[in-house]
Point group: C3
Chain length 212, copies 3
Amino acid sequence: MEQWLVFWKNVSFVDVIEFLGTFAFAVSGIRLASAKKLDWFGAFVVGFVTATGGGTLRDLLLGVVPFWMISSVYVWCTIISMVFVIIFRKKLVHLNGPFLWFDSIGLGLFVVVGVEKALTLDYAIWVVVLMGTITGIVGGMIRDILINEIPAIFTQEFYAVACILGSLLYCSFDYMGVSAPVTQVSTAIFVFVIRLAATRYSWKLPVLKGEL
Amino acid sequence: MEQWLVFWKNVSFVDVIEFLGTFAFAVSGIRLASAKKLDWFGAFVVGFVTATGGGTLRDLLLGVVPFWMISSVYVWCTIISMVFVIIFRKKLVHLNGPFLWFDSIGLGLFVVVGVEKALTLDYAIWVVVLMGTITGIVGGMIRDILINEIPAIFTQEFYAVACILGSLLYCSFDYMGVSAPVTQVSTAIFVFVIRLAATRYSWKLPVLKGEL
Amino acid sequence: MEQWLVFWKNVSFVDVIEFLGTFAFAVSGIRLASAKKLDWFGAFVVGFVTATGGGTLRDLLLGVVPFWMISSVYVWCTIISMVFVIIFRKKLVHLNGPFLWFDSIGLGLFVVVGVEKALTLDYAIWVVVLMGTITGIVGGMIRDILINEIPAIFTQEFYAVACILGSLLYCSFDYMGVSAPVTQVSTAIFVFVIRLAATRYSWKLPVLKGEL
């Protein structure tokens, strides 16, 4: 009983949000995997890579231990996502709204975590922005490569711009001496809003026309 | 003459098995490359990546020097595999049986090496199991991405389950204090048997059905 | 004014060449991206990865900080490449000749940089040759994977052989005690000439025929 209290005392609000974000990213990977007729193991791998791929590349580039090797919560979260998709697959079609929310919340938090890690290691601002963006987008890119598609982020969404702008906002607030919690919450909300607005109003980047 | 004796004295049984496993993995990559009309260089790259990709990702994640940068045996083994495929390509079709054996022996050994490395670095058991599995399967996944296919392991085989179960067996034996040689040989044989049995009896994981 | 003088004094001939090489590699990525109807962000990512992917994998394998995280010149160079392609896209078709030259100069320099880095870290000669080759070719490989094609280098070009031969030449000169500048310039010119000659005379490696 007391152990549970200690456990819950150590679970912060950010942990809860991060769990939801990981869950949403994993579910997005698992659903695409199921559309390609992958088996359970394949779906698990695609889900796990979608949720952790961006942070893993960031940590390898920064030369630190990949975050998911320190706590088992990301593996468990992916397993729970699998079970969830298996049980509720017929109903998930109607849940696209909530999932877009989860996914956007997760994106905001992933950007915050990525920017924070790079700032702590004293990298230049443009490296910090790249790390925030990599944390947000690379998982989905590897997901699409694994299922043999061109990354959706290259053609369909305003996703990456939300990550870049959010990272810049974080750096500006940090530079201006705004406290860490305010900076983090503002950035996460900002990314979340941009992402939702981009989806609702179909904001898109121009296509690069070219002739070979 | 004496130098050769010293050389052979330093070649252990595990080295021989590892060479055969690397050879079988490289040949599998080179044969798929030839089916896609790649040139010699492309075939070499695909063969080398099939044989070393899993261990390389493992070593990058663990933060140690990639194993194939320490001894040139893996490069030589891939070159020998190339020559072998070029000379015997018409006869290889009839050698699928022996190759399945090599491949399964190699898989068992790759899992043992991956688990051992992670255990030595004092990681938690679930990290150890992931490292054993990554060592066994990621080479084939990168192979399939390079030749522009969805990884075969996501749809066709019981391969990954053999790696996971073998890694768990290793950890259990290690926990119970079984000596290293016994643990390693048992694990390798176990993975080998599961893999062969899965192929013979067409064991498969269920497909994840989903609706987008 | 004085600052500019200091800036230019610190820009070496190699820096200029490296900038041109990065530019040519980025443009090649961005042009392929535009043929696949990617948006601006997608084109930027493909261009950046084409220019920096090989060096990044090399640095991760060698365990050093990826080169593009130390100076922002590679990000700027990719942005300039984007602007260049957007403005001149109708005229680029007629510039294939100059671009082949840039690309070949860049290739020569990338090989030199890769070999030098691995030599400085005291790796065995075959690791050094692999690092020079990886630096030259992996960016283009990742580019092709991102746009969902089999890497062109596996089927179409003598590209990789130029990298391997150039790396071997560098190591031989280094072994014979030739001074660094002479070794570097000779290697870069050698790779450049082999690459141009291979394109002009359609040198190709044999295709690996196989039966599955």
